[in-house]
């Protein structure tokens, strides 16, 4: 049975292995250089306190490969579900070969167990390896990325650590299940892709934020959490736009970032213009008072009682989240696997 599984699987396995070996080799060769350039950069920027600029420069330089490898890890589970999972049984049902193989002296339960076990473990192991290598390689970049692309951000979180392993195992079994129910390879692939994409969107948007109760606290307004400020000298109005950053919690995943007025009322959400009543004719926010000093102006806004209220998950929850999410996907995988065994024994012929 193991021989047959391997015989049917070896083509795509060898191809995937080749691609992963190339990727791993490239990352292993370039990784140390990346790390040492980062270390050198940090060493010199801490002396003249220009680390913010160093981060920007460093990240800008590697943004393309950074996005590319992250995308690979994000797509890998989907591809596993699409090309390994969906056709696994659908193709047999389509060609009628299930009737050939299920009439050898092997029960179909065992047949399914070997197929799922062998290919599922391969998929999980390959994705795990790929995810960890990418996590290691992009370590310096993750430290210098802007908040939208930090490791806790939904887009990047799924391409780091051990979560991709859980995604891949789940996508594979999802593909197998869909293939078994749909019984046609191409529709099964399309449906697998749609279902997996929907789940991968629902997870960070609807589920992940609530895995651990998020922290909510208020922060003073400063350059750290403001992404923009607008002052119209002629009308005397001013507004502040809050960004996703949380002061003192670098790399945190902000779920919300609201601007509160001195009475504690929310006047603007993240990215929205929040009007602030600050003097634009005199004081630090007056454009006439020489070169604009953003820091001093924001300190003035803060002094008037304006605050940021952020709901967020701090960076140190990265690994707990990784474990919890991998566990969730492992449970889903186990559930679908159980369903597959039940269905193949009871319903399928």
């Amino acid at each position: 049975m193991i021989w047959l599984t391997w015989r049917q699987f070896r083509g795509s396995a060898v191809m995937t292995a080749a691609l992963l070996v190339v990727l791993t080799a490239v990352l292993t060769l370039t990784g140390p250089d990346l790390a040492s350039r980062y270390a050198t950069g940090i060493a010199s920027c801490t002396q003249d306190d220009s680390c913010a600029r160093f981060y920007d420069r460093f990240f800008d330089e590697y943004q393309l490969p950074f996005l590319a490898v992250s995308l690979v890890v994000l797509l890998l589970p989907a591809l596993v579900g699409l090309f390994w999972g969906a056709p696994l049984i659908a193709r047999e049902l389509e060609a009628g070969t299930h009737l050939l193989v299920w009439n050898q002296s092997v029960t179909r339960g065992r047949w399914l167990a070997v197929k799922l076990g062998l290919i599922g473990l391969t998929a999980a192991a390959a994705t795990c390896l790929c995810g960890l290598v990418v996590t290691w390689w992009s370590g310096p970049l993750d430290k210098s990325a802007f908040p939208e692309l930090a490791v806790m951000a939904p887009l990047v979180f799924g391409a780091r650590g051990i979560a991709p392993m859980g995604y891949a195992a789940f996508a594979f079994v999802l593909g197998v299940t869909v293939g078994m129910l749909v019984r046609r390879t191409l529709p099964a692939m399309a449906l697998t892709l749609a279902a997996f994409a929907a789940i991968q969107l629902a997870m960070p948007l609807l589920v992940r934020p609530h895995l651990i109760p998020p922290v909510t606290s208020t922060f003073e307004i400063s350059e750290a959490n403001v992404s923009g400020i607008g002052i119209q000298g002629d009308t005397g109005s001013a507004h502040v736009v809050l960004g996703p950053a949380v002061p003192g919690h670098a790399g945190a995943w902000a779920l919300s970032s609201d601007l509160l007025d001195p009475s504690g009322r929310v006047i603007a959400g993240r990215g929205e213009e929040g009007p602030v009543k600050v003097s634009t004719t005199s004081g630090p926010c007056a454009p006439a008072a020489g070169p604009p000093n953003m820091g001093a102006c924001l300190a003035e806004v803060s002094r008037l009682g304006y605050r940021q209220r952020a709901t967020y998950h701090p960076l140190d929850r990265f690994w707990p989240f990784q474990w919890i999410e991998t566990g969730i996907y492992a449970l889903l995988t186990a559930g679908l696997t159980g369903f597959c065994f039940w269905w193949i024994r009871r319903r399928l012929s």
Partner: protein
């Protein structure tokens, strides 16, 4: 004598449609059993139930004394060649033999090798490139080299041209002569089965219409032609299988164990094909029941 197939009130339902219903048969071992019936009569369903591909909805079925498909040991005792004889298009002939060898404890590698060589199949040939006849022969080889006690074949020759059909049946019968296993095969053409079957099951509209040894069936079925007569006026031991009337003449196909002495009738024998067609022709419900009772 042991039974290869024993079904009691067996039924299989798909959704609200019964593909097979109230099927009761007991087929003794050592026969080549033909399962005939029109398309959609439930032949494939019965064979799949016997092979353990399907679970019955109602009643029960035992094959060689065991529950079909329940254990590897049971699977090893029953061979199954599915309709259209599917093979893995991407695998070679040698791969298929290797598959059989790996997956079957009783695999007879000599039989497999010898058959493949005699058929002229190259071991390196991809199964997807084989002709329909060659593919069927490859599937049959897998079924035979497994050395089953019962080999089930679902419409094995339906898609083959006459020559390939002949060659396939020759190979099958030769193996039966050599290894003495039971065979259960279906066809919607009686002519395919006439020579090779010594036991016949006629399945119509998901019911077993008649079952028994072919010679016995041929000996107990008669065609009566004579002046018009009501079926009610036939002797009680003559069960009407089919009847047709003109103004003056009646033609009956009856089943009876007793000889027919009535001088008014011209009695003639039926060919197997006529016999099967008479049963397929859809007799009235009462006589259908009668035919079933005779068979018990």
């Amino acid at each position: 004598m042991t039974s290869v197939l024993e079904a009691r009130a067996l039924g299989k339902r798909y959704g609200r449609r019964w593909a097979l219903r109230d099927c009761t048969v007991d087929v003794p071992a050592g026969h080549v059993v033909g399962l005939v019936g029109p398309n959609g009569a439930g032949k494939t369903t019965l064979l799949k139930l016997a092979g353990g591909q399907l679970e019955p909805t109602a009643g029960d079925i035992t094959v060689l004394g065991g529950r079909p498909g329940a254990t590897p040991a049971q699977l090893a005792r029953v061979g199954f060649v599915a309709q259209d004889t599917p093979v893995y298009a991407g695998l070679t002939v040698a791969d298929h033999l290797r598959l059989g060898e790996r997956l079957n404890p009783r695999w007879d590698a000599d039989v497999a090798r010898e058959r493949v060589a005699r058929l002229g199949l190259g071991p390196g040939q991809r199964a997807g490139r084989l002709s329909g006849g060659q593919r069927a022969q490859l599937a049959l080889t897998l079924g035979l080299a497994k050395r089953p006690e019962l080999l089930i074949l679902d419409e094995p020759v339906a898609a083959l041209d006459p020559l390939a059909r002949r060659e396939f049946l020759q190979g099958l019968m030769e193996a039966v002569a050599e290894h003495e296993f039971s065979v259960l095969l279906s066809s919607h053409l009686v002519s395919d089965l006439e020579r090779i079957c010594d036991y016949l099951i006629v399945l119509v509209d998901s019911h077993v219409r008649v079952a028994g040894e072919t010679e016995r069936l041929l000996a107990t079925h008669h065609r009566l032609t004579g002046p018009r007569r009501d079926p009610g006026r036939l002797p009680a031991d003559q069960h009407v299988v089919s009847a047709s009337h003109t103004d003056r003449q009646s033609t009956y196909v009856v089943r009876t164990d007793a000889p027919i002495h009535d001088p008014a009738w011209t009695v003639s024998r039926l060919s197997l094909e006529d016999l099967v067609l008479a049963h397929m022709d859809g007799p009235p419900a009462e006589s259908r029941r009668a035919a079933l009772e005779v068979q018990r």
